[in-house]
Amino acid sequence: MNAYIAKLVAQRIALGLLLIFLVSIMIFLGTQILPGDVAQAILGQTATPESLANLREELGLNASATERYFSWLTGILHGDLGTSLSNGRDIASAISERLGNTLFLASWAALISVPLAIILGLVSVLYRGRWPDKVISAATLSAISVPEFMMSYILMYYVAVQLGWAPSVAMLNDRMSLLEKLHAISLPIAVLVMVVLAHMMRMTRAALLNVMQSAYIETAELKGIRRSAVIWRHAFPNSIAPIVNVVMLNMAYLVVGVVVVEVVFVYPGMGQYLVDHVSKRDVPVVQACGLIFAAVYIFLNMVADIVSILANPRLRHPK
């Protein structure tokens, strides 16, 4: 029976790896075979034929697409992401520090938003239909309709500029202590928390309400247990699987939301690096960043699926 679960998990991991492989092909195709020539796109319409030929040579564009793809892929598997076109630096070393910064930002946002979302979800189920539920629902609904950059600037305008509580630009350096770093990134964290909180909280609430209709909840209520205990002891453990699933999906979303937030707060992370190099038409950097973002996204989605396999008692104890 555990072999069955192991098989399901192994299948899901294999699928994830296959997806990452296929996505690397998509990203490669997306930048190499689309109408328009990379060399032309970099140099612009006014480029001379000689400079175009030189750049094509330098980029290895004269080799066939399959050859280029496989040399790119083997490079990545050996940790070599190529060199940037715009400044000739090694991409892997430029990315490693930025990736760390991005993960630092995203993981703090996750650490704050996940418990908060679950607590708010529990509270709104506990007070279902009464004012705390309604206030939470209205607030989360309006948070969904607002783009990330708008939320960022509203916070920046009121909290950083008017009140002066937090810096408006999230600069990090090595001499800062953890607390100083957290203060520096407090606004970006707040924005990211708000972006994912609403969705997570609504799904937590929905998952709990779904379980609350079960017969065993009615039994527990008829035994005379307090409502908060019913929710905490009986409903919550049974809705962990859907909640964890939603949490992981939102973590995946966080990885993307980070792009915009980093640009707003001039935070030295992967997102800002990607956006900068898209406008410079620096294709190797864009490919590398795109692949990393997609891989993290696929990985988190995979973890979500695996958790729901592991958390399903019917799969753990088949008849």
């Binding site: 296929l22 996505v23 998509m26 328009g36 796109a41 309709s145 915009v260 640009v263 956006v275 997609a294």
Partner: protein
Amino acid sequence: MRRIPIPALIGLVITGLFLFSAIAAPLIAPYGVSEVVGDVWEPASSTFLLGTDNIGRDLLSRLIWGGQTTILVASAATVVSFVTGSIAGLFAAVIGGWVDQLLSRFVDLVMAIPTLIFALVVLSVMPVTIPVLIIVMGLLDSTRVFRLSRAVASDIAVMDYVEAAELRGEGRAWTIFREILPNALSPLVAEAGMRFIFMVLFVSTLSFLGLGVQPPGADWGGIVKENKDGIVYGIPAALLPAVAIAALAISVNLVADWVLDRTSSLKGGRNG
């Protein structure tokens, strides 16, 4: 026809106002789109109702013209997304078999890459013009429409009247466009509202990142980008287009909710 509920009415009025100002932009905008008429970041006054922007253009006029661009690009991308997504979805559901498998797995693959990241990758090699933007956004988003229309259509495809049409000897195109499409329309129309909002947010985000509508053209995301430096000096010009985006998003949302509610109750449908 029943009375329109108040939230939907508010949504309709505000959406209508936005559409009107987009269409009538040349008539109602006080100044031209890139006309420098005043000082940098002048406060609101009777000549400049909302003040001026980072190089002294009238902000209200910029917002009206920008709304035109944003709404145009978002609507066109929604149309692209719907035409591609729903036709492919209907065909996949009706034909089934390997066509369905191929299309569905391809859509799964595209959806495995975050939309914004994929758009950035593609826009790094494509010339960033408005038609390219519309097509890229529309095609990336059509994956969502594909999933919805395929799911809706595979429910309808097993209905008796579809079988009757097939037994009558109607062709596949007839079955899809005359039998299935009309019955799948109401969930698709409600979804269109949501996709439109998503497109408004998407094009605004791209322009804000400098990869959407290029200057001298104006759109809401671009206006935020131009005026963002003012925030640090306490000038709220960058917040105004953001307010416009949110107001449009919320009001379209209200209308879409009402349409969904109305169509599902008319059919006595699954959603009650």
